[in-house]
């Protein structure tokens, strides 16, 4: 065994974590507040939809995923005071009005024959955007100073990836005809456009690029 009194470097040679990160405390807290808001909206919607879907397998998955997102909301709720936000409700807000409009459009379908729309909104639009936002945060925040957020992000992302796959497989199993494929695509496009206007789940700059306003694109 090596001499225990011999000085060793504080970071092992394989530990390449760096101090610099893209977010200060306030920015990390702002993003986490938006994450909590969207996770709350999602678990509430999934819970509400359980009674409205006739497909037994979908009903059970929605109940399971409902808890996953509630647990994510709880993680972000607990993280906020650690980021100097002693009133977590203050930052538990949508990034802008477009995000509110997105949630209204996402949760609009209720009828039992609209399972495709319900699933497409969650698993082809919202969950992929969450994966993108969480991955961006994970890869850009300080690996040392913001380690608690990183730990939560990793657990949350694991759920998101598995739920995404679950949801996508359910959607594929429900799409039998060209008309149903068109329905799914149309609904996805409608919701995606609103989310693009919102700039992502944490607003413009969610994944680094501040998405230009439509008038700038056309100019």
């Amino acid at each position: 065994m090596a001499d225990p009194r011999k000085p060793r470097p504080p970071f092992a040679p394989w530990d390449r974590r760096e101090l610099p990160g893209a977010f200060d405390v306030e920015e990390s807290a702002r993003r986490v507040g938006h994450y909590k808001w969207i996770e709350m909206k999602l678990f509430e919607a999934l819970g509400g939809w359980v009674a409205t879907v006739p497909e037994l397998d979908v009903k059970m998955r929605l109940g399971t995923h409902c808890y996953h997102h509630a647990w994510h909301a709880e993680q972000w709720h607990k993280r906020l005071p650690e980021l100097r936000e002693m009133n977590p409700d203050r930052l538990t807000v949508p990034p802008n009005d477009e995000m509110v409009a997105f949630i209204e459009a996402l949760t609009e379908p209720e009828a039992p024959e609209l399972t495709i729309e319900k699933l497409v909104g969650v698993y082809r639009v919202l969950v992929p955007h969450k994966v993108a936002a969480y991955t961006y945060h994970l890869n850009n925040t300080s690996q040392i100073t913001d380690a608690p957020t990183i730990r939560a992000l990793r657990f949350v992302l694991q759920d998101e990836m598995e739920d995404w796959r679950d949801g996508e497989m359910l959607i594929q199993s429900l799409l039998d005809t060209p008309a149903e494929v068109a329905r799914a695509a149309e609904h996805q496009s409608k919701l995606e456009q609103i989310l693009v206007r919102a700039g992502g789940i944490a607003g413009p700059g969610t994944i680094g690029y501040a998405i230009p306003a439509p008038e700038e694109v056309t100019a």
Partner: protein, 282 residues
């Protein structure tokens, strides 16, 4: 999506046949079946020595299966129906989401158990009374009706089924029922704790909630199905109810309500027999 979903619109595939509590109460077979062959048995409790044990156990398992679906739907709706903070605390909604996951697992377990016991989905009618108890516009009443009364009944049912599995030499059934029982004790305790917290300093609201629970308890005891008496198919699981936060007085009260329901059912049966005898004589 609307707030507060009507029970008659619960989404089901074509295999399911739903009936309301009113339909069940209007069915005279419910009274006739009580103690149908009591003269040949000392107990009416679900046990393997009953001649109809297989059918009775299958029927009960299907009832558990559809009950779990409705419990899942009820917990999910509580996440959606109430605004966070204003109407229901954030932590309560997190608990309801957790319960939704637990109930989803119970649906998975009970559908596999039903298959194991040789039952098909839809073989028995689905009584929607459980979801009706979850339709209240006051979250406190939902906790009383669902988490304390309904989930309390689930404790009694799972205890009975666990004992049935043990007596019948079916470790698969006993194992699964024991796991579900653990979750139900958690749900009832959750309901007891939240009921106490949400009605702190509001004696009137607490009394209304407990009264609602009593009404639902009696509804679930309809026909004498569940009581301390061996004449009931399902027993009252006193030990597990203790673990779930019920006091001795509360358990005694449920026992009284259940006994009363049993006596009423026997009285209904006696009247039916008299009417039948009079008809035969006339």
């Amino acid at each position: 999506m609307r707030k507060f979903f009507p029970v008659e619109e619960l989404a089901r595939d074509e295999r399911f046949h739903t009936i309301t509590m009113r339909d069940r109460m209007a069915d005279p077979r419910a009274s006739r079946n009580l103690n149908a062959d009591q003269s040949r048995r000392s107990s009416n409790r679900l046990s393997p020595d009953r001649k109809d044990a297989s059918d009775a156990a299958r029927s009960m398992m299907h009832g558990i299966f559809v009950g779990e679906i409705q419990a899942l739907e009820g917990a999910g709706r509580t996440c959606w129906d109430f605004t966070t903070g204003g109407e229901a605390p954030f932590a309560l909604k997190l608990d309801m989401a957790r319960q939704a996951w637990d109930e989803a697992r119970h649906v998975e377990i009970s559908v596999k158990l039903a298959d194991w016991m040789g039952t098909e989905i839809g073989q028995f009618a689905e009584n929607t009374v459980l979801f009706e108890a979850a339709c209240s516009h006051d979250p406190v009443l939902r906790l009383a009706g669902v988490n304390r009364a309904l989930e309390g009944l689930a404790i009694d049912v799972f205890t009975t089924m666990k004992e049935f599995g043990d007596l019948a030499g079916d470790p698969y059934l006993e194992f699964c029922e024991d796991w579900m029982l653990a979750d139900e004790v958690t749900h009832v305790k959750m309901g007891s704790d939240w009921l106490r917290r949400l009605t702190e300093g509001d004696a009137e609201r607490r009394a209304a909630a407990l009264e609602f629970q009593s009404v639902v308890d009696k509804l679930f005891s309809y026909g004498g199905t569940r009581s301390d008496s061996d004449e009931s198919i399902i027993g009252l699981a006193r030990r597990f109810r203790h673990l779930a936060g019920f006091t001795d007085d509360e358990i005694d009260e449920i026992a009284d309500v259940s006994r009363q329901a049993l006596e009423e059912a026997k009285e209904r049966k006696r009247r039916l027999q008299e009417r039948a005898a009079a008809g035969a004589a006339g």
